[in-house]
């Protein structure tokens, strides 16, 4: 029990950060119109692609002769980058479609 409290104490800054970011996330999108639900989901999908930064850090920390870490890390970088690029491009294409609609009608 003591060690749990100690861990929380040591990471207090990050925990504050976490709580504030959760509340911010709720606030930021609270007034979204229904028509934007899917693009917003897609945009959020692209943003969590930031996990690729973690994959890059893993690769930079791995020692060059640790082939297991290097190959798993390589895979992580590829799929993370797929998430980022695919997410932003798909969102952009969706929103492009939204823009054209009012012109036609």
């Amino acid at each position: 029990m003591e060690s749990i409290l100690e861990y929380i104490g040591n990471n207090m800054e990050m925990i504050y950060f976490l709580v504030l970011a959760i509340l911010l996330g709720v606030e930021v999108i609270s007034n979204v119109p229904a028509i934007l639900h899917t693009p917003l989901m897609s945009g959020a999908n692209a943003i969590h692609g930031v996990v690729v930064v973690g994959a890059i850090i893993v690769m930079l920390q791995a020692s060059p002769d640790n082939y297991l870490a290097l190959s798993v890390g390589f895979l992580a970088v590829v799929v993370g980058m797929l998430n980022v690029i695919g997410g932003f491009v798909v969102t952009d294409r969706m929103l492009e479609m939204f823009k054209k609609k009012p012109k036609k009608s």
Binding site: T38, G43, V53, G54, D92
Partner: protein, 283 residues
């Protein structure tokens, strides 16, 4: 030391662009610009990590080579897939990319576990807990998203196991017990990979009984899962860009999921459990 400070500042900038991007994405007029702003922030974070995280070390030439190759491959495949996809197939594409993000978070947890095994920690091992949660949520999100993708593509038929919901509850209990064992008795690779396997199966069984019409809601929920997995990764490294990006998506995604349910005049539990009843009646 200076380069590390610059790196932290670029992470701050990236976090701000994520918040602004999300805010702008929720208004029709600014949505497209918001997406681009978030993309620019992501680019800054990636480039800064590559150049500033550690001073270039010629002994790690192989690592850099593999990173650049990985980034190039991911960019190439991602661009082609996203450009070629039909407008009507957008939701499954989002699901696919979401699954990739989940896989990335799970893979990071696996490598970190390899490093962590050699360390001896007395008392509460917070790092291990964060790792396990990242692995768990990342792999559930990966397998779940792949099933959602397959279903929307029409490759996977709706299939409900007998007592599917009971099996899910049982798996969830097993997952909690496994995490508990590892937290109190130290981590054994057997339990770690067992957790990975059960999490993957859970993801499949979680999405399997849900009908196609409710899939966007499920994708949105899995999207927020991946966000949380990314945030656990950020917690592990003390990386604030990952933490903000992940948590923002985690909480915004959860709210968005609820909003989407409300738009269909249903509750989240209704979508997750109600479809099960309809499916079993059909089967």
């Amino acid at each position: 030391m200076i380069s590390l400070n610059i790196l932290e500042i670029t992470y701050l900038i990236a976090s701000i662009t994520f918040i602004l991007g999300l805010k702008m994405l929720s208004h029709p007029d600014t949505a497209r610009k918001g997406n681009l702003i978030a993309a620019a922030g992501m680019l800054i974070a990636i480039v800064a990590t590559l150049t500033l995280y550690q001073e270039f070390d010629s002994g790690k030439g192989l690592n850099y080579g593999l990173i650049f190759l990985g980034l190039a491959v991911g960019t190439g495949i991602g661009t082609v897939m996203a450009k070629k996809v039909q407008m009507t197939s957008m939701p499954q594409m989002v699901s696919f990319f979401n699954g990739m993000g989940g896989a990335c978070a799970a893979l990071i947890a696996i490598i970190e576990f390899q490093h962590h095994q050699h360390a001896t920690v007395s008392g509460f091992d917070g790092e291990l807990l964060v790792m396990l949660l990242g692995l768990l949520i990342g792999s559930v999100s990966f397998s779940g998203s792949m099933i959602a993708y397959g279903k929307l593509e029409g490759k996977i038929k709706d299939k409900v196991l007998p007592m599917n919901q009971a099996i899910n509850m049982f798996l969830l209990a097993v997952i909690i017990v496994l995490i508990g064992i590892q937290m109190f008795n130290g981590s054994d690779p057997l339990f770690f990979y067992g957790l990975l396997a059960i999490a993957l199966i859970y993801g499949i069984l979680f999405v399997m009984p849900i009908g196609g019409a409710d899939m966007p809601v499920v994708i949105s929920l899995l999207n927020s899962f991946t966000g949380m997995a990314a945030a656990f990764g950020g917690f592990l490294y003390g990386n604030k860009a990952m933490l903000t990006g992940g948590i923002l998506v985690g909480s915004a995604g959860t709210i968005l999921t609820i909003l989407m349910c409300n738009a269909m005049n249903r509750s989240l539990t209704n979508v997750l459990l109600g479809a099960f009843g309809a499916g079993s009646a059909g089967a």
